[in-house]
């Protein structure tokens, strides 16, 4: 059992710990939306159970990304064929379907474009609670 004080100490310089929910409130393959410390944050739980946290506002037209969906990114080796990536996961905006790489927050095909990048957050599961730090 980790003490509350120890968890508060886990925050880095300039960071605060924000508890969002219990882990079971975000089933694998889903994404939840939260407010924490004045920010909207989307927390995605991948199929393997791990979590990713990004800004919950689409940089395109400000849709709530947590109302969208997550999936292993569709890729292809040959024109006309489709398969899902083993290790790349994307969040799809509920409005226009823009994809965001859940590792980097960037557009998976234009990783260098800053205006299409979501801020990413450190997210941890601590004592069964989902916590983000910022």
């Amino acid at each position: 059992m980790v003490s509350r004080g120890a968890l508060r100490d886990a925050a880095g310089p300039g960071e605060r710990r924000h508890v969002l929910c219990r882990l079971e409130e975000i089933p694998p393959g889903t994404v939840g939306g939260f407010r924490a410390g004045g920010r909207r944050i989307a927390v995605a739980r991948l199929e393997d159970g791990s979590l990713r946290a990004v800004a919950d506002t689409c940089p395109h037209q400000a849709a709530r990304l947590s109302l969208g969906s997550i999936e292993r990114m569709w890729v292809s080796d040959t024109p006309g064929t489709h398969r899902q990536s083993e290790n790349r996961n994307v969040l799809l905006c509920p409005w226009h379907g823009f994809e965001f790489d859940l590792e980097t927050g960037g557009d998976p095909c234009v990783p260098g474009r800053p205006d299409l990048r979501l801020k990413t957050y450190r997210v941890e599961v601590e004592d069964g609670e989902v916590a983000v730090y910022h």
Partner: protein, 367 residues
């Protein structure tokens, strides 16, 4: 450096041979006097099809009657013996190559067996005959000329064999395909053509043909068709990218000839935007569509738009985001011919004029 590249006019005839600083023209049309010109280059049973009275007259041409005083040709290019404008090498020399000191100039065939959608073996034989005719009657007679390889694209494997047959001649610099509306060349069916082009280090170019249609097919008037036909190049370009042709053939380069070019910013924006939403449908397309266009596709200047403020044209150019994408073309001998002395407004900086009039095509085709 020639005075044309500097944006100056000498008023003198230039003549002579090509040089590393002469203007390059990527769209000159060589014309058959009649299809019987191909007879010496055809074997039987195909030869008889064109030499008999009441025989085959050629693939379907432009279906419109031309409202201009001298038909599809500029008046200067009209011949005195009734043969088609563009069918006499001496006039091409006098009115294009010598007049503007042009060289190389790329011949763009308007003879498209692809538009002969029936009798596939005959169409393939016509393409081979045409390439041999061009080689003997044009390329061998003026070393400033380069040419496009004519194919019957409806038989892609045969087209690839033809590309391999003549592609080793360095004077053939590209494969020409008609910007048709009935099929998308980005479909897997046509892969052998692009594979052969890449194998031979050739560009694949698109130009309108008798099979070019607008989004509404053939509208009532020629002016409608001519204003709207860029839709055909747009659809083919979109098809090449969405079909994964650039991903599959990583060395392939494409030229859009006489498509006009001011629509390119719109298409790039629209396509990139849609790609962000719809990429999952075509995951084999690995980059933003605009990146393929900037890196792998070039456009001819002609037909240049003519806005009231020439600065608008330059601003459109800047929006595309590449100084390399545009190559000068006259479209001789047609009525919408552009002069290298006049086509580029002075809003285009001098160093850019040189690129558009000469360097961009040299770099693209490797002259």
């Amino acid at each position: 450096m020639t005075d044309i590249l500097r944006g100056e006019r000498s008023g003198q005839r230039r003549g002579g041979r090509e040089s590393s600083t002469s203007v390059v023209d990527v769209d000159v049309h060589e014309m058959l006097t009649s299809i019987e010109d191909l007879a010496p280059y055809l074997d039987e049973p195909w030869r008889s099809r064109i030499v008999v009275n009441d025989g085959y007259k050629g693939p379907p041409g432009n279906p419109y009657s031309f409202p201009q005083p001298t038909g599809v040709a500029i008046q200067d290019a009209v011949t005195d013996d009734g043969s088609p404008a563009g069918s006499k090498l001496e006039l091409v020399r006098e009115q294009v190559l010598d007049r503007y000191g042009i060289g190389p100039a790329i011949l763009i065939s308007l003879f498209h067996p692809t538009d002969h959608q029936i009798q596939p073996e005959f169409a393939t034989a016509l393409a081979s005959a045409y390439n041999d005719w061009v080689r003997e009657n044009w390329l061998d007679k003026d070393d400033r000329l380069r040419s496009s390889i004519t194919v019957a694209a409806q038989e892609p494997k045969d087209a690839a064999r033809e590309i391999d047959r003549v592609g080793s001649d360095p004077r053939f610099v590209q494969v020409i395909l008609p910007a048709v509306a009935h099929h998308v060349f980005g479909r897997p069916f046509y892969r052998p053509i692009f594979e052969a082009a890449q194998r031979n280090g050739l560009v694949v170019a698109f130009h309108q043909s008798g099979g070019t249609r607008t989004a509404v097919g053939l509208p009532p008037y020629y002016i409608e068709w001519h204003t709207a036909i860029s839709q055909a190049w747009q659809s083919q370009l979109i098809g090449l990218i969405a079909g994964g042709v650039f991903d599959e053939f990583e060395e392939l380069k494409v030229a859009m000839i006489e498509s006009s070019w001011t629509w390119v910013p719109h298409l790039m924006w629209r396509f990139d935007y849609n790609y962000r939403s719809l990429r999952r449908e075509v995951p084999w397309v690995r980059r933003l569509p605009s990146e393929y266009i900037r890196e792998r596709v070039r456009f001819s200047t002609q037909p240049m738009e003519y806005p009231e403020d020439p600065g608008d044209l330059y601003r459109m150019f800047e929006m595309i985001g590449s100084d390399d994408f545009l190559m000068f073309a006259t479209d001789y001998p047609h009525w919408d011919f552009d002069s290298p002395e006049q086509a580029l407004p002075h809003a285009f900086p001098r160093e850019l004029r040189e690129k558009i009039l000469s360097t961009n095509a040299r770099d693209f085709y490797g002259f």
